[in-house]
């Protein structure tokens, strides 16, 4: 049986891993590759790197970071997001060591380019980032470039119905970095219905994670800051979740 995943998220700003609070305030954590090595050693199911300043600065993907991560010989699947605008960016990110890509701004601005990426990489390698928040008029999309909310672009709907992206990273923008605060209603957003969803933002408690993983469209839970507070955080978390739907905790030292 396919297991649901615990994804470790590393948020990177100016090349450094940071603790993010609502994508508004940032505290330095250290080198991304060191944190990735810890997550790899603790047996997280997937590692997601989000380089949050690459698109706004029009810098393209952080190839140097991907190369440094790949050089560490991580044995955990790696997803990279940040600055990916073209098919050429996407293929280079994969060839330098990522297994999948996370697209953000280009998902909304250039859906045709996302189709080109999927035609080369396969849709299973493409994840879309969808940061959501509540406004007076209901659920809206957060545009981190303008720092404003916006409606759901109609062009994106086709990318979901045509299976151009395989999974959606649903981000609770307002609660990101705040413990046990993820708003589960985002996972029932009408325009996401039927898509495979990864929940992220304000998720850390086992009972909360269990409730989210029990939702049929949810394939994974992504956790950022909360996995960095103590050693073996991934194994501890997995021990506290019901067996069966997730991969059991993995201990490198016990097996080697």
């Amino acid at each position: 049986m396919l297991k649901k995943r615990i994804v470790g998220v590393i948020t990177v700003k100016k090349g450094w891993a940071v603790q993010s609070i609502g994508y508004q305030r940032y505290l330095p954590l250290g080198r991304p590759e060191t944190i990735a090595e810890n997550l790899d050693r603790w047996g997280v199911d997937e590692i997601l790197i989000q380089s949050i300043d690459r698109s706004t600065a029009n810098q393209g993907p952080d190839y140097d970071l991907i190369y440094r991560l790949a050089s560490r010989g991580l044995n955990t699947p790696l997803v990279y997001g940040g600055g990916i605008k073209t098919r050429e960016h996407a293929t280079a990110v994969i060839s330098k060591g990522a297994d999948r890509i996370l697209v953000d701004a280009s998902f909304y601005d250039h859906p045709e380019e996302i189709r080109r990426m999927a035609s080369v990489l396969g849709a299973q390698a493409v994840i879309a980032s969808v940061p959501l928040l509540f406004t007076n008029s209901g659920i809206a999309l957060w545009d981190y470039r303008t720092q404003r909310s916006r409606g759901w672009p109609s062009a994106c709907a086709g990318l979901l119905t045509d299976s151009i992206v395989s999974e959606i990273l649903v981000i609770d923008k307002s609660h990101e970095g705040t413990p046990a605060s993820f708003d589960i209603s985002f996972l029932e957003t009408p325009f996401l219905r039927g898509s495979s969803l990864i929940a992220f933002g304000g998720i850390n408690k086992p009972c909360q994670i269990k409730d989210i993983l029990d939702m049929p469209d949810v394939t994974a839970v992504a956790i950022g800051n909360f996995l960095n507070y103590r050693e073996h955080a991934v194994q501890e978390l997995k021990h506290s979740l019901p067996k069966g739907s997730i991969r059991e905790p993995y201990y490198e030292l016990l097996h080697s």
Binding site: K3, A70, T76, P77, Q124, E252
Partner: protein, 201 residues
Amino acid sequence: MITVGIVDYGAGNHASVTHALRQLGYKVRFGCSADVLDMVDVIVLPGVGAYPSAMEGMESRGLVKYLRKQAAQNRPMLGICLGMQLLATEGYELGHTPGLDIIPGKVTPLRSPRWHIGWNSIEHKGRDPLLVESDREIFYFNHSFIFDAPEDYVVAVSHHGLQFNSIVRRGKVAGVQFHPEKSQLAGNRMLKNIIESLYYA
């Protein structure tokens, strides 16, 4: 020391595979020319991508004829994920594309669910030594197409909505649908067992 040659066909996650193989103690070379690949002990086709563009990359580098010839000469070869699917007779991703035709079979889409992404177990069919230690172990999959091969070539299966082939083998050529290089301890063990059993077979 066994030398592994990773085939460069312009796509794929060769960096990840290279690092995993080096960690296991193998010497690794990377290239698309006979000069490089003739000198290695085991040929590896990595893979992340779509079938037609991968075959186009193979064709444009003269690898289709070369790899068929190597398989006919019984040289050890391992395909990973898309690399496994390229070993098939034909693929149906974004239309029909002839494959390397090294292991009979066709590559067809998963229907429902459309993706198979994440960690899943494999189930050993028979007594292939490739799998002595890995039966029922869990590996990382990331694909939306499957390799439909005659039973004689099926070494292991997995389940996701339907049963599909997760390892195929014909002589000294094997393919795995999952990513052993990204499957932590279980993957490293499997990768080492496959490389060495193909090499010493």
